[in-house]
Amino acid sequence: MANALVSRSSTLPTLENQVRSARLRNKRFVVPAVIRCFSLLTCIALWYLASTNKWNLIVNFENVPSPTAVCQAAVQLINSPKFQSHLLSSIARVFSGFGCAAVLAIAIGLGVGRSKLLSDLLMPPLELLRPIPAVAWIPLAVLMFPNPEESMVYITFVGAFYPILLNTIHGVSSVDSNLIFASLTLGANRVRVFSDVIVPAALPAIVTGLSIGMGNSWFSLVTAEMVAGQFGIGYYTWESYTLQKYPNIVLGMIAIGLLGMLSSLLIQRIAWAFMPWAKLGANR
């Protein structure tokens, strides 16, 4: 009883307590936030100074658009249907290329990780092609596919494929054997061991592969669009250069960055929906 009273009085919102908790909050959240904003604003200020004063040190800022010019261009573009169609065609390419890569790489990875035969059968050619960067495929892909659209999806596919494959194989082959023993002594057969133990145990590694793969597929796509594209955000960025619409180059770059970030976030969110235990672990 006495304890209850004491503990209650100590949590009363006295002025002193309020001041103390406000100070704590300042220290924990407000101060770092101010420092971070300051850092960002300084960078933008430097960009502004460099571009308006046309600094020419080692890096030449003469043709670099200023932040204000970029903002003006952004206002114009935001409602332009052309810009939106560029964005949409890039997103569609990434989703189809990345989607195909995810399905195929996870399926092959699950098989190869558990079966020596499948590994011997499938891995030699895959290993042989692996060191070739997706971007190096561009010329051949253009020749191989009937139209540039498909060749660009293919480049995106190649970019995403290997990280997903390798992480899946790693996840599957490094499943704790104790978990497998445990499931066997609980009456699981081979099929159930695979579907109920190995696949969920490999899931975190697969998700890592997916997020690396997503980054790679954007990277590959943007390059492919610059070389071979007719639409898409990579093409738009390059076109802005050739048409000397310099602020639009920066806008294209920003759009590419945002899209990459948002798609990684999307993967993370979907992964958390499938792996609530991993999210709980991460938050601790």
Partner: protein, 290 residues
Amino acid sequence: MKGLAHSTGSGQAGDISVRNAGISFLTSDRVVEAVRDISVEFSPGSFTTLLGPSGCGKSSLLGAIAGFVSLTQGQILVDQRPVNRPDGSRGVVFQHHNLFPWKTVRGNVEFGLKMRGIRKAERQRLVDEILDRVKLSAFQQSYPGHLSGGMQQRVNLARVLVNRPTVMMLDEPFAALDAQTRLQMQEMLLELWNGLKMTIVFVTHDVDEAILLSDRVLVMSRRPGRIRADFEVPLARPRTAEQLTSAEFNRLKKYCLELLREESIAGESASEEGVTSLPNLELTPSAADG
């Protein structure tokens, strides 16, 4: 003492017969003989502890009875049938790290029933019952990563016991727990065993634990593991922590410690492969045929 729903009824299931069992492992550069020529019987419903120094092959023998370690010699029969692969009738509780981290407490416990194709309503009832027994009903939606070591081992016990195995093997299940929790877990294990009456084979290197829990203790030698002594524990049941200080308990403890010390001294002078010429110090004649 109410049994779970699908009890086998006979009370005679869970007979284990180990016949001339030998286990060798191939490591990267040599063959390690873990267990040499062990013959021993475990009667249905008995509680037997394998006591021995680390690396004496007791876990290997346990794995062989469970069916995931294969014998290089001899045979193991459980209820007259040779063991050649793990199945749900012989449950194993390991020391740690073997709950499914992606399943909730409930999901972990339900796993074995699901594997056996038990219908959902029945599963629910059996899981509720066993969770209540191990006092985890309030935590059924938690993930194992959020539970204390003692709670994790209670989930482990429940996950095995919900299948009503005829044999339950425990491999140093409480070694990673603090003393207080360990005592609680030991008490809970005895309670569960008393209610469900399966054959228990318990592995430990802790002398107190061996004597306090079991009907019978098998003391194993250093590698290659063989049975050095085999004695009954004449302490009355139900066992309590007070018995830890009784005269009889201390006599048995002294005897076990003596045996284990001889093993470690022998280990220093003997080669890795052989501990061959030790005096036989059996206290009471063994019930086993080995």
